[in-house]
Symmetry: C2
Subunit: 350 residues, 2 copies
């Protein structure tokens, strides 16, 4: 793809994210504002905190674009798209507790602000809230479709908690003997299912009234979501703090097993590897800026960042190939061009 | 009710709990055993831990008895009953984290055994797992009924997280200016909805194919569930450790606002009340056995335990009255006698 095409594709992606994102944000705010005023009212104020911090609504926009691309309307997809964003925020609150993260979207994480007990409760509240718009699908799409979308939601949520479990186990066992396949399996579950596969599947489901085969979307969603996650991990290492909204190299401070860390452990000398493992095994507070910097420099020495970039590019290319295989016959539309351009955009976003 | 009647009612309740409980436990085990064997397999081992520690399946049995009482079959209610037990265990795992509890069913709590991050993940996994049997209702009861039961589930889960939020707020603000109404509102949400109201409602829903009015069950479920919760709090103070399976006076150590504590704060002198508040405001580790004992003795001095017993008896009587109002016309059956006898049993259980 030429650079002129690339620039116009990026503009198109940004434009649709702004347009559909605004629709979602408006609905999301209205939904989260309709909360009870009793002693439990503060729970809904806190539940609205992460969503109010912004976010691109990438997942919701992908779902709506896929629904339109398959002949559905924005209105038909809106409930599911709102549910997706709420579920995403539910995951973020609990993930931040589980990963002991300190920053989210430029502000302290929920448990740092309000303590672990309240953060666990707020994450649960968001998860429960995500069910309501999915119930409302009954009125707009009928019982059968509403239930099918709930089934897809249950699957995506299950994959996510399983992916999170794999990652927690690696940290708990302080694993360093991992390879690319381990990593890709983990992010398939932890990230791809609910970030890309699930939005694509329910979009197609809604647009075709459950007549599209959904299995081919698994591959496309996996390639796209994996490229997205690796780029996210890269941004955590090399990104601009203000754009990114989390601590830079926070993943290293958290001892997260990224593709770069896994590559480093494969290439490093026995002595270096032992030292990396030792550092990753420390409690978070004991991982000083100096040791984090040492790992970071070792990564550059072994070309781990470049390697991860190459893998992400390969995955994005595979996603584009899958898309053209599935949808080349479809007439041109903004929604089609949006989904088609997403793999490239995912790699170029800051 | 005479003592002969009472003894035979108690036998009947115990008998049905054993009988239906065995059905549920068998299904629950089969469901939890069908788990993947990958890196995430340990998650399902941990998810099966709390359920494997036993438990009476009171909620599931109530649901099945209510379904039968309304003309349904055990088979029709079984999926929902299994979901109920899984959801209950999901709540327990997160509640234990939020309350910093140390013992559950005679063993250390999940987060004490495996740390908070894994416990949060396991609770999430159980919550997601609870959805699957509810999806399976589609095959046995059709899409419309399956979705109605999911709507009831969403409501019950929402009430529970709201009730938990109220309790967390009281602890976080170290509230002592509470009254019986505050307490009853909190347990209506935190306990009654998912323990009694929801099982009754979905039982009736299944048995009548959504033709029963469910609102009258709100009152019965509230009275029954509130009597149950107050008795639970009483057992925590005065019960036998082995039967009860939690630390005795653990609620006091956790700073929980029970009816007895609320009563104490109402009756105590200004100086005593200030001291009680001071103790409740300490971090858990700083609340020594000596200060817990002091509060416990002050409760006896002010008759708080007797007061709570009286309130629980009043609520149980109200539940019996509601039941007779609703179901006196129904033909006699074991299921009917079970539900009818529950309010009395709730108070007599050890």
């Amino acid at each position: 793809m030429g650079s002129v095409d690339e620039a116009s594709s990026a503009r198109l992606v940004r434009g649709l994210l702004l347009e559909y994102g605004a629709i979602i944000q408006t609905r999301l705010r209205a939904f989260l504002d309709a909360r009870p005023g009793g002693s439990e009212g503060y729970l809904y104020d806190l539940a609205a905190d992460y969503p109010a911090r912004g976010g691109r609504c990438l997942r919701a926009t992908l779902c709506m674009a896929m629904a339109r691309l398959h002949g559905g309307s924005l209105e038909e997809a809106a409930n599911s798209a709102v549910a997706l964003e709420i579920l995403h925020n539910a995951f973020l609150v609990h993930d931040d507790v589980e990963d002991e993260s300190e920053e989210r979207r430029g502000r302290p994480t929920m448990h740092l602000l309000h303590g672990v007990p309240i953060a666990v409760n707020v994450g649960d509240a968001l998860a429960v809230l995500s069910l309501r718009p999915l119930m409302d699908n009954r009125r707009s799409l009928g019982s059968r479709m509403a239930l099918r979308i709930l089934e897809e939601t249950e699957r995506a949520a299950r994959e996510s908690v399983e992916g999170q479990a794999i990652e927690l186990k690696w940290r708990w066992q302080n694993s360093v003997d991992l390879d690319d396949t381990d990593y890709l399996t983990m992010i398939l579950k932890k990230t791809c299912w609910y970030t890309t596969i699930y939005p694509c599947r329910i979009g197609a489901l809604i647009g075709t009234r459950d007549r599209a085969p959904l299995d081919s979307l698994l591959r496309f969603g996996f390639f796209l979501g994996a490229a997205f996650q690796i780029q996210d991990d890269l941004l955590n290492l090399v990104g601009d703090h203000q754009d990114y909204g989390k601590e830079i190299a926070g993943d290293l401070a958290e001892g997260k097993r990224t593709l770069m860390i896994i590559r480093l452990c494969q290439l490093a000398s026995g002595k270096e590897r032992a030292r990396v493992r030792e550092i990753l095994g420390l409690p978070r507070a004991a991982r000083t800026a100096a040791v984090v910097r040492w790992i970071r420099e070792l990564m550059d020495e072994y070309g781990c960042v470049d390697y991860a970039r190459k893998v992400a590019h390969g995955l994005a290319g595979a996603a584009q190939h899958e898309f053209s295989q599935m949808y080349s016959e479809l007439p041109d539309s903004r929604d089609k061009r949006f989904v088609e351009a997403l793999p490239t955009w995912v790699l170029s976003r800051a």
